[in-house]
């Protein structure tokens, strides 16, 4: 039975695609973005045990095999474990089967238009997603993939075949900035941008605008705007320090990017032909 590590499921979300959607967040991400708001989703738990004794509710235990166990009934969601974890992981991850996840989706089904998978990076669970989307499709609901673009959709288009589209993050275009910001080469991301656009599966692109990073911001926005035109939505997101690891806050900024500053880039994008560019 296929299982995937699920960080959490939000039954109703109005910010992960059109309408009301159930969002499934998977654990684990190949990037290590400096500005990640939920760094505890980056890695899988290494069962080092550091968090176990610090849990004030006794919700964490080490079992006979040395694996950390999380008792959701006892957990008071104080997030002490997440703050303490030295490995950017979380002990509160559920290894779920497709049926497990479907159980929660079916419950929300009457109220939603579809399901969005996110993360972490959901495409790490490609085979799981294919089965999940096939089941969701049977309910007459749409499936969207929220992705950082690290998975080469052209090389393995199976998951696209059972989904309605991708919401793609294009975080950095300049190679040096990309290496620094996301610790990953940006080539696959940019390849995906073109491919998804070509096959009509690009639902939206998102770019975060950082305070006082004129050159980097502009390079990314110009590139994306020129490529997508009015082919899909372009969300310009203001950098927010909330949840960002402290050391990286020092580097990127301890303040939210100004609305006017972000709007400048949305305007630039629109001037370059990305008619559906707007700040969120």
């Amino acid at each position: 039975m296929k299982r995937a590590p699920v960080n959490k499921i939000i039954p109703f979300s109005n910010v992960d695609g059109p309408g009301n959607r159930t969002s499934v967040f998977f654990q684990g991400c190949p990037f290590n973005c400096l500005f990640c708001h939920n760094p505890e989703t980056i890695h899988l738990c290494r069962h080092c045990g550091v968090c176990v004794e610090k849990c004030p509710a006794g919700a964490l235990t080490l079992d006979a095999q040395g694996q950390v166990r999380w008792d959701s009934g006892r957990c008071v969601q104080c997030d002490a474990c997440i703050r303490l974890c030295p490995h950017d992981a979380s002990p509160k991850v559920r290894w779920m089967t497709v049926e497990d996840v479907m159980g929660e989706i079916r419950r929300a089904a009457p109220y939603i238009g579809g399901v969005t998978t996110s993360g972490g990076e959901c495409t790490l669970q490609n085979d799981f997603l294919i089965d999940l989307f096939t089941e969701v499709g049977k309910l007459g609901k749409t499936c969207l993939i929220d992705s950082n673009g690290s998975f080469d959709f052209e090389r393995d288009p199976r998951v696209l075949a059972v989904s309605q589209g991708v919401m793609l993050d294009v975080k950095a275009v300049d190679p040096a900035w990309s290496d620094q910001l996301i610790s990953y080469p940006r080539d696959t991301v940019l390849k995906n941008l073109d491919y998804l656009l070509r096959v009509g599966k690009l639902y939206e692109v998102r770019t975060v605008i950082f305070p006082d990073r004129d050159q980097e911001n502009e390079a990314t926005v110009r590139y994306v705007a020129r490529h997508i035109g009015d082919g899909c939505n372009y969300k310009i997101i203001r950098y927010r320090p909330f949840g960002v690891r402290e050391k990286y806050q020092k580097l990127l900024g301890e303040f939210t990017a100004e609305a006017d500053y972000a709007e400048k880039y949305a305007q630039l994008a629109r001037d370059l032909g990305a008619a559906k560019a707007y700040v969120v």
Binding site: F12, N14, G19, N20, R21, Y111, G119, G243
Partner: protein
């Protein structure tokens, strides 16, 4: 100080509010209507409550005139001819409203305004029609100064419906309360979305489950007052309520409650209702001489008695010994199941009782989830609602509601408070409403955090008007006072906000 002097000297009461207060006082001096000692004991305990209906019912509590008939035939008593254009139509209504009695002294049902006015509106230039409707709404807000004044629109999209939405948004008035009768097959998504947008900004309209109401009442039903389902050309005689938490205090166990205490209190409330209904029909002059009756705008057989309940959540929690509300009714399957058993028992016993003068409804009263009054504090949550402050996720809250809403043809509802991002995604809310109504939700209300007009427990108030009362100034709307009480005692404005959660990456 005498009660009368107290009213007369209260700086926060307007002249008309004083008048109503003094009339109530006068009414309370009579003791013609007597009930059993057991009834008085239950009332003293707080287990039964008459909602200050007054000891001498001289009119039915809620009256829903047949305005279509008014437009067809005119009104002899008020010397009004059938209207021939929009201006006349609006004028006829404004006059007529002033002569429709109710418990609040204001008309609780203004009609299906879109259907009534559409034939006149479409004959006019849109801007002119809008101007007339603007003055009409202003008249209602300043003359019928009570948030229980209620108008209905839908299910179909109409020019008038659109204009009323536009004006509601532009004018930001607390009066009238407004309901969209929503039917997925008859209400277009476009019109429903316009209603959602308006609801976020002004706390109205609410969405009524049209199919459910039609199934119970037929096409000619009204949503009046807070969210009360009633017959057009009829109304509600009386609405007392069982305060279920207080009813449960002497029970030794859930079984003891279900077998002994609950039936006892149900019967006492039925005794009270029977006596009042008979009195209104047989003794008071309303059904004999009021022009509404003699000219056929209401018919006695279309009236019903409304059997109210409040505090199911607290009742279940108490019976199961649950002290932490966060782990109680709404979040706890056993408590919710007990709630279902209690409601089944109430529904059964009430439906077995042969009620006087409820001819059009098989001679039975119908249940009502009463919305609470300001003095309830935190002891009894409205109807079958989950207590404020411990609401679970919206999904879970809807699921609980869907279990309980079908019990209440004469009205129930729940309110959801949304945060700003929903303004950009009204389709997300419509999708939730559609799903929930299909699953048995009866009535959905929503509003945006940070609005001035907000929905308290069923009615609308302006937060700025509550502020006036706090500063010992008068508020034209007589309901503002209840709003202040509900905010202070019941924390009614502190309900959970539907947030979008920060996505993970």
């Amino acid at each position: 100080m005498s009660d009368a002097l107290h009213i007369i000297q209260d700086p926060t009461l307007t002249y008309r509010q004083e008048l109503v207060g003094l009339a109530r006082l006068g009414e309370s001096t009579d003791d013609t209507l007597r009930y059993s000692d057991a009834y008085y004991a239950a009332k003293k305990k707080g287990a039964l409550c008459d909602l200050n209906e007054g000891v001498m019912p001289f009119r039915p509590r809620y009256i829903c005139p047949d305005y279509e008939l008014l437009f067809q035939k005119g009104c002899r008593f008020l010397e009004l001819d059938p209207p021939t254009d929009l201006l006349e139509a609006v004028n006829v209504l404004e006059i007529f409203y002033c002569h429709v009695p109710s418990i609040t002294t204001y008309p609780v049902y203004l009609g299906d305004l879109d259907k009534l006015l559409e034939p006149f509106v479409v004959k006019e230039d849109r801007d002119y029609a809008k101007k007339v409707l603007r003055l009409f709404l202003r008249n209602i807000d300043r003359v019928q100064t009570d948030s229980f004044v209620h108008a209905d629109i839908g299910p179909e999209d109409t020019v008038t419906g659109r204009l009323l939405l536009e004006l509601t948004e532009e004018m930001q008035l607390a009066v009238p309360n407004l309901t969209l009768r929503y039917d997925p097959e008859r209400t277009s998504d476009d019109f429903a979305l316009a209603c959602v947008r308006c609801m976020l900004k002004t706390a109205k309209p609410s969405f009524a489950n049209h199919r459910m109401f039609v199934g119970e009442w037929g096409e000619r039903y009204a949503i009046a007052s807070c969210y009360n389902g009633l017959s057009i050309g009829g109304g509600g005689y009386t609405l007392p309520r069982m305060r279920l938490y207080e009813c449960s205090l002497d029970a030794k166990s859930p079984e003891d409650f279900l077998e002994r205490e609950l039936p006892r209190y149900i019967d006492l409330q039925l005794e009270y209702m029977d006596k009042r209904v008979k009195f209104i029909v047989e003794e008071s002059s309303f059904f004999k001489t009021n022009f509404l009756v003699t000219e056929g705008f209401v018919k006695r057989e279309n009236f019903i008695g409304m059997f109210g309940v409040v505090g199911l959540a607290e009742c279940c929690n108490h019976l199961l010994g649950i002290e932490d509300k966060k782990k109680g009714f709404g979040m706890n399957e056993a408590a919710t199941q007990l709630g279902v058993r209690i409601m089944d028992a109430i529904e059964k016993r009430v439906s077995e009782h042969v009620a006087p003068y409820c001819d059009a409804f098989d001679h039975h009263y119908r249940l009502h989830a009463q919305v609470g009054i300001d003095t309830d504090g935190m002891d009894d949550s409205p109807g079958t609602r989950i207590p404020i402050g411990v609401e679970p996720t919206m999904l879970e809250q809807l699921e609980v509601n869907e279990k309980f809403h079908p019990y209440f043809p004469t009205g129930t509802g729940d309110i959801f408070k949304f945060e700003e991002t929903y303004l950009k995604t009204p389709d997300a809310i419509l999708s939730i409403i559609k799903g929930s109504l299909a699953n048995g939700l009866r009535y959905f209300s929503g509003y945006l955090e940070n609005n001035d007009v907000v929905r308290v427990t069923g009615y609308l108030v302006k937060k700025s008007e509550i502020e006036k009362l706090r500063q010992k100034k008068q508020s034209l709307n007589q309901v503002t006072l209840y709003g202040m009480g509900a905010q202070d005692g019941g924390h009614a404005l502190d309900r959970r906000v539907q947030h979008h959660e920060e996505s993970a990456c």
